[in-house]
């Protein structure tokens, strides 16, 4: 996986000093220091947007989740008591908002990953810019058909399966951290991942 584990991007990889820096930043933001809050946003907002965009596959919805998540952080930061890591707290907010969006879509039976175009429905996944991992020549050969199949299979996953799959496969988070974010156990997150990969295997079996 090309992307690092966001659950350790601040606290783990950069070491204890960074944890202290982040705590100091949070405490300053709690006291109303606006520039500390901005720094906190800048440390996490690319990950937040990437997660929301990949889960919801809609720029508009991803922007709404980004806005609402950080506004909630801004409003409630004073009540943050360091009972869990800031990352876990933030991701809990973000995934809850994304799950709400996905559940509403299930009810409305929307197909957000396809948009109408002059040539008929267009698959966002097939036309989206590839990530840096796709610079591998083998990946570039990935046919539009396979990408479309992945897109459709993602739509068929339950919101929780999709969230666990996205956080584990693309965000590189550990199952234990995913369990914390979703308010469940590592074992339950593991089962969700099992089901998601099984569905992916069934859908893509003929291509791989």
């Amino acid at each position: 996986m090309s992307m690092g584990d966001p659950s350790v991007s601040v606290a783990g990889v950069l070491g204890r000093d960074s944890v202290l820096d982040e705590s100091a930043l949070i405490r300053a933001a709690q006291q109303g220091d606006q520039s500390a809050f901005e720094k906190l946003v800048y440390s996490y907002d690319q990950q937040v947007l990437r997660l929301a965009y990949n889960l919801l596959r809609s720029q508009e919805d991803a922007r709404d989740v980004y806005q609402e998540a950080f506004l909630r952080v801004h409003r409630n930061l004073r009540n943050f008591r360091f009972d869990c890591s800031f990352h876990t707290w933030l991701y809990r907010i973000v995934t809850n908002l994304c799950l709400d969006h996905l559940r509403k879509r299930k009810v409305r039976k929307e197909e957000p990953s396809t948009v109408d175009s002059a040539d008929g429905p267009k698959d966002l996944l097939a036309s989206a810019p590839e990530t840096s991992a796709s610079s591998d020549p083998q990946r570039r050969l990935l046919s539009a058909e396979v990408r479309e199949r992945i897109s459709r299979t993602l739509e068929d996953l339950t919101p929780r399966e999709r969230a666990v799959f996205q956080m584990r496969h693309h965000e590189g988070m550990r199952l234990r951290a995913i369990g914390d974010v979703l308010g469940t156990t590592e074992e339950a997150a593991k089962n969700c991942l099992f089901r998601a990969t099984q569905k992916m295997r069934s859908a893509l079996g003929e291509f791989v």
């Binding site: 996986m1 090309s2 606006q34 520039s35 901005e38 946003v41 800048y42 907002d45 690319q46 947007l49 990437r50 965009y53 990949n54 596959r57 720029q59 991803a62 922007r63 980004y66 806005q67 950080f70 506004l71 801004h74 966002l124 996944l125 989206a128 810019p129 590839e130 990530t131 840096s132 991992a133 796709s134 083998q138 990946r139 990935l142 396979v146 990408r147 992945i150 897109s151 993602l154 584990r168 496969h169 693309h170 550990r174 199952l175 593991k190 991942l193 099992f194 990969t197 992916m200 295997r201 893509l204 291509f207 791989v208």
Partner: protein, 294 residues
């Protein structure tokens, strides 16, 4: 570990989620079982294929999300009561407190009037401070009381007296709320030189970003003025508020000239904001100038 166990654990193995003992057993089984080794390779291909399902958010999406977020936060901060006047206004506008506040004001007026003298002026005392006191030797105390009285004035901003008071309020260091309101008034009529100078001074030196934003809005119609352009350049290079820098560059490039190139190249090297970076690089390209300084 059986073949069935191994097939079940394939995805967790690739995600590195097996514990040490399970991974040891898994590796031993794969070394000895060619069927499971082939299944592992197939799982690896699936795993790599799924990487292709990742979407990279467009850079403009991040920039616009940030601008929207900080815009909303700034707006809510500006709407929040900051100065004494705002706090009083907020207190008086709360329906439950209205009767109590009115009673309190009446009591202050009544007691104040009695304490000062029966012939005290009609304007109520809004604040007082004991500046001096002494015993007169006959059992009395002489007190010098410093009082602030409220006086209401009304007039157009074009009236010089009113404008001077608003300009004075725009420099009131202890009350950012008052400065924001002053800027909001001044920006509506920035044709007078002294008003423009006050807006420029606030833009480059006021510590409150809300005041600086109002000042910048007031200077929009003067984007060609050399003094305003110097101030915008300072904002771009020095202001720590990315929203302000983004607005400053939009304003500055309304009138492009070659003198800006050095400053823009410096900006490309130093600014961490995605929007400012993108915009600056695009402007340099439009001006046929390199993003790098040589």
């Amino acid at each position: 570990m059986t073949c069935q166990d191994v097939r079940t654990l394939l995805p967790l193995y690739l995600y590195g989620e097996l514990d040490f003992h399970q991974e040891e057993e898994f590796d031993r089984h794969i070394d000895a079982c060619s069927g499971c080794a082939r299944a592992l390779e197939a799982e690896r291909v699936l795993h790599a294929t799924l990487d292709g399902g990742h979407l990279a958010p467009p850079p403009a999406l991040l920039a616009s999300s940030r601008a929207r977020l900080f815009g909303e936060i700034r707006a809510s901060e500006l709407a929040r009561p900051t100065g004494l006047l705002d706090r009083l206004r907020a207190a008086f506008s709360a329906p439950l407190w209205k009767p109590a506040a009115a009673l309190a004001l009446a009591a202050v007026g009544f007691l104040g009037g009695r304490a000062v003298s029966p012939s005290a002026p009609a304007a109520p005392v809004t604040a007082s401070r004991v500046r001096f006191l002494e015993a007169d030797g006959r059992g009395n105390v002489n007190i010098v009381l410093e009082e602030t009285r409220e006086r209401k004035l009304s007039g157009a901003l074009s009236d010089d007296g009113i404008r001077q008071l608003v300009l004075a309020a725009s420099r009131e260091q202890g009350d950012p709320g008052l400065r924001v309101e002053s800027m909001d008034l001044l920006r509506r009529d920035s044709s007078a030189t002294e008003v423009r100078r006050a807006l420029v001074a606030a833009l480059v030196s006021d510590p409150n970003p809300g005041v600086r934003i109002k000042a910048l809005e007031g200077l929009k119609q003067h984007a060609a003025d050399p003094e305003v352009r110097r101030a915008l350049s300072q904002v771009l290079l020095r202001d720590d508020n990315s929203g302000l820098r983004a607005q400053a560059i939009d304003l500055l490039v309304q009138h492009k000239n070659r003198d800006m190139v050095d400053m823009l190249q410096q900006l490309v090297r130093s600014d961490s904001n995605d929007y400012v970076q993108l915009r600056t690089r695009r402007i340099l390209a439009e001006m046929n100038a390199s993003a790098d300084a040589f």
